[in-house]
């Protein structure tokens, strides 16, 4: 349970950048897509998993690398934190794609 709570804290820290950044990319994608909902969800999802995620990891490394020891002292490695965070995002995107399918075909 402690590890899950810590993973959520790490997720919050990382996504204080990734979420608004990916949303911005999603909004930009509305402008270049024929279907606004699909553009928003596709752009947001792709950025959340790739560019936004990589950039958030890089910024965290630059600004808060020492804080990794907060997690290491509870037995969490960098890889576990990254995989855990990515898994939450995959779940979020799966739900978003269900919403997209419902809105477009439902």
């Amino acid at each position: 349970m402690t590890k899950l709570k810590l993973l959520f804290l790490y997720y919050r820290s990382l996504h204080s950048f990734n979420l608004p950044f990916s949303l911005l990319v999603g909004v930009f994608c509305i402008a270049i897509s024929e279907n606004k909902v699909a553009g928003l969800i596709n752009g947001f999802s792709l950025c959340l998993l790739t560019g936004g995620f990589a950039l958030a990891l890089y910024l965290y490394e630059q600004r808060h690398s020492q804080q990794y020891y907060f997690y290491h002292n509870q037995g969490l490695s960098r890889l576990q934190l990254a995989v855990g965070t990515l898994s939450v995002n995959l779940l979020l995107i799966f739900l978003l794609f269900l919403v997209k399918i419902y809105l477009l075909h439902g």
Binding site: T2, H64, Y68, N73, Q74, G75
Partner: protein
């Protein structure tokens, strides 16, 4: 008292062409504070990170109670590491850190009721002074159920009053833990340690008398009379 043993052997670490650590052997048991001394850049922090398991190295042999571990920090109940710089998240108050980090209520209460900490619980880590933060970090790690604590410069930038309090804190946890400690405040390390090891030329050299620190060029000869 249950006695645990940490053994570190055969650590090889190169930095570019330079061999930083090449002849390392040290051990530490429950109830012991082992002081690691050495000049800037001699590999003290690197050694602690290698022992903890977060720094990759060419070769190492880390065992706790006879069992070998490649990354001890991934195994519950073995080691905790206090890094040189503050490691606490700065976006949440200390009380929330305690709730996250210490699931047992009694352990949380020990920290929350600490006379030097209780007035700061609503503050974030970046709102504390260096001494207050170091004291809190140490107090937090001491509540973890680990056998050994690796302390990297716990006295760095800390005012004398807090140095004394940190020393008392370490002494009070000796029955359940062993400590490897390194700091440039060598007087504090000398006071608090039962054994001393000097890292020089990549090797660990046990020190039995402070004069040896002068012989190895760690302390200036003028400090002989002080120690």
């Amino acid at each position: 008292m249950v006695k645990h043993t940490l053994e570190v052997d055969s650590v090889l670490y190169s930095f570019g062409e330079r061999k930083l650590l090449s002849d390392v052997y040290l051990n530490c048991g429950t109830g012991e504070i082992v002081g690691l001394l050495g000049r800037n850049g001699c590999g003290k922090t690197t050694l602690l990170k290698i022992i903890f398991g977060t720094k990759h190295t060419d070769n190492k042999h880390i065992s706790i109670d006879g069992k070998v571990y490649t990354k001890p920090y991934l195994h519950a109940g073995l080691l905790a590491y206090l890094p040189q710089q503050g490691f606490l998240p700065k976006n949440i108050p200390l009380s929330e850190i305690l709730n996250l980090y210490l699931p047992q209520q009694d352990k949380r209460n020990i920290v929350k009721q600490n006379i030097r900490i209780k007035q700061h619980l609503t503050k974030r880590a970046d709102e504390l002074s260096k001494g207050e933060l170091r004291y809190f970090e140490l107090l937090l790690l001491l509540q973890l159920d680990v056998k050994f604590l690796l302390l990297d410069e716990p006295f760095s930038g800390v005012e004398p009053l807090y140095v004394e309090q940190i020393e008392e804190l370490l002494q009070s946890h000796l029955p359940t833990k062993g400590f490897l400690i390194t700091d440039h405040d060598y007087r504090a390390v000398l006071r608090v340690s039962q054994r001393l090891i000097l890292i020089t030329d990549g090797a660990c050299r046990p020190i039995t008398h402070t004069d040896e620190l002068i012989d190895w060029g760690y302390m200036p000869a003028s400090t002989a009379t002080e120690s």
